[in-house]
């Protein structure tokens, strides 16, 4: 690696003197999105896109944060930088870096599938592409988002008929909002949310998203929820919070739910294949569409995709970064 270097603090751009999603304390950090493993506290200055401001403020507090529009060009040291939509969650960005006629792109986390809560992924032609690879095995192919939403809706209605609440576990940031927006295309029924999801919904609202009939699960009066759909982070399972939702059916929304063994091991009654990461075909397609001459993969089953692309004549490498892989391992 040249323009970007892996250091103890994170991925570092020397001629621009900044880091991308660093994990050590540094002066200047460009953040690709607001998930905890990418947006950490302790940096002197932060740079991100406008759309992620409220999410980041909620996580990081009153920090020195400068935001740009998608596609807006700015300069750091000797390099030209711009941020482009990654389609992962609201305010997620790829980082484009240009220096001495060479273009590098860092994707952060991204997906190519439909998401009504954020801008779609933008393909940025580049020389060197640094991509996530969370789901980099060919068994990971996402079903159409809308048809999976229909499955969620049907599950909810069936549970209601049988007298159960439907508890759907998912990431509180990004996935929950995406699911709510997806369900709003199918129904005006109230959707109940855990406090954590509710707070993030407020951050989305400040960015212009509107939530209708999305309600926080009340402390008292669970009768109101009867037969309802409740979105909560998986960590809320097993807590006392959860108990007030009985009788309930519990499902999990994640890309890992694609595999039967995962569904059974996790013990959820139902798994919905809804992921905010790129699936295998998207990863391969995106690498090819960027026209890059070299690609690095940061986290996931990198071995397989590296070997596969090398065999296809694309120079691919492994670059292990300590980011989480959608709640697994």
């Amino acid at each position: 690696m040249e323009l970007l270097k892996l250091t103890k603090q994170g991925l570092y751009c020397e001629p621009g003197d900044f880091y991308i999603d660093p994990w050590g304390k540094v002066d200047t950090a460009i953040l690709t999105h607001g998930h905890g493993d990418h947006a950490r506290t302790g940096m002197k200055n932060y740079i991100a896109v406008h759309e992620s401001e409220h999410i980041l403020r909620k996580r990081l507090g009153a920090v020195d944060l400068k935001t740009y529009a998608y596609g807006e060009v700015f300069h750091l040291g000797e390099v030209t930088v711009s941020l482009h939509s990654a389609g992962h969650i609201l305010g997620s960005a790829q980082v484009r870096i240009e220096y001495q006629n060479e273009v590098w792109v860092f994707t952060g986390d991204f997906k190519r599938d439909l998401d009504l809560t954020c801008e779609p992924f933008e393909v940025i032609p580049c020389d060197v592409f640094i991509s996530e690879a969370t789901f980099s095995l060919p068994v990971y192919r996402w079903p159409d988002f809308r048809s999976e939403m229909k499955e969620v809706y049907e599950w909810w209605m069936k549970n209601r008929e049988e007298g159960f609440n439907s508890v759907l576990c998912c990431y509180a940031l990004g996935k929950a909002q995406r699911i709510i927006a997806g369900l709003r295309e199918l129904t005006d029924e109230p959707i109940w949310v855990h406090g954590t999801v509710d707070e993030l919904n407020q951050s989305y609202a400040k960015t212009g998203m509107t939530w209708e009939n999305v309600l926080k699960v009340p402390l008292e009066g669970k009768e109101k929820i009867h037969g309802g759909l409740i979105l909560c982070p998986p960590s809320a399972l097993g807590s006392t919070w959860h108990k007030r939702l009985t009788p309930k059916k519990v499902a999990f929304a994640s890309g890992w739910m694609r595999i039967r063994g995962n569904r059974r091991r996790k013990g959820y009654e139902r798994g919905f294949v809804i992921s905010d990461h790129a699936d295998w075909p998207s990863l391969i397609r995106t690498v090819k569409e960027t026209g890059c001459r070299k690609v690095y993969f940061t986290h996931g089953h990198t071995d397989a995709i590296v070997r596969f692309l090398n065999e296809q004549g694309v120079e691919a490498h492994d670059l292990k970064l300590p980011y989480e892989t959608e709640g697994e391992s």
């Binding site: 068994v139 595999i259 039967r260 596969f308």
Partner: protein
Amino acid sequence: MENFVQLLKELDQSTSTLKKIESLKAYFAKAIPEDACWGLYLLAGNKISTKINRPFLQESFCEFMNMPFWLFKEAAYHVGDSSEAMSLMRGPIDEPISPPPQGEFIENELLNLKNLTPELVKQKLHEWWASFDEPVLFLIHKCFSGNLRMGVSKNLLIQALAQIAEVDKEIMSFRLMGDYEPTPESYRNLMDQKITIEKKSKPYPYFLASPVENAVETFSDWEEWSVEWKWDGIRAQVIKREGEVYLWSRGEELINESFPDVIQQAELLPDGTVIDGELLPFKEGKVLSFNELQGRLNRKKVSKKDLADTPISIMAYDILEWEGQDIRQLPLKARREILEKLSVFPLSPLVEVHNVSEAQALHIECRERGVEGFMLKRWNSTYQSGRKRGDWWKWKIDPMTIDCVLLYAQSGSGRRSGLFTDYTLAVWQDQELVPITKAYSGLTDQELTSMDNWIKKNTLEKFGPVRSVKPEHVFEIAFEGIQPSKRHKAGVALRFPRILRWRKDKKASEADTLDNVKKLLNEEQP
């Protein structure tokens, strides 16, 4: 096929047995016999005979997907099921064609594959991969591999079918014994309320003994019980009807070919006789070890040498049919009297005991006699089916066992150096885990490695070479004796403890309690 695919979806999504039975019933109630006969066949774990072997299927698939074989392998390994992996890799498609009826597809397409050239087979496969939906492909792949279990046990299947056919569970299990032919006709017979004549080869469902937990409580009046040795052989039923002999294993396999010597003896039985007993190697009137018997198992062709070295017979202990009559409703005493009149097979001898301590005295001798313990059968019991508690007991002389939670691990030595293989295990007392024993051997290398990885990732504290770990894994510990001990925190000491099994099915909370373990102390010293 749609009904069946729907069933598989429901089975996949339900975690409760009751729900599974409901789904099975819904399928069998809806499906026509032409389809249902195959549904049943597949759920029972059978495969469709196509002559297509796994490498051919997988290579054709890689060709279809234009995917390197190593990548296929990698993904299949990740999924843990290559049938599922293939359907996942093909993935969702926009406009799948709806699947043809199940029976029709299997009979016209799958069974016909063996008449086609490899090129044409490949063409067919490619056609299916290009046009069917993921769940349909999953099913087709499972037809080839035959391990479509979906958490449906045979017992569950029998329950569902019995309820649909409105016949007793026992009758359904009787009807399902032996070779099931996937034809609409045999399915109709299976589901027919009236049909009583079963094929002459059919065995009766076995009556299975339950393990004794507390001998003193279970057996009060010893006059009521027949006591026999518990032979360490293979349970079998021998049938002589209309001049033909059938030998059935407990696994419901017809094993005539493997035991021509037994068949030859059974020819001497009168017609209309069914005997329940244990296949055992006998030589010069003595019972040989189980190992000798194993040498004779699974041999389609038995050599003269085999017959001479390890002659097999049946130790008869019950008679279920006599003079063509089903006599299972007679009390054991009466059945035994009939059995004693036959002199075709050796008769399982009765053991003279009159109380628990007499039995226990013999109990210890069992090992030397090469038997596993005792069978206790109530003299007035009928021959029932399946495992029904109350009248038949097996009192094994297995080592005592308890389920313990792994608390500490220490690295081993020699071949196991660097691996955390020496475990300290604990049981529950109130809300706390109390260490009760150390144990080493018993796990396979693979299990040791995977535990080692887990231990390294889940260490709570390090004390020199010892690590404390998250209390999560449960192991079944076998031991030869238990004594009170002041030196041990738990207050007991185990003799010759060793790991019997890794109980992956159990959570830490399900491990034994110290109170339970202490109960064994009392049993040890009557």
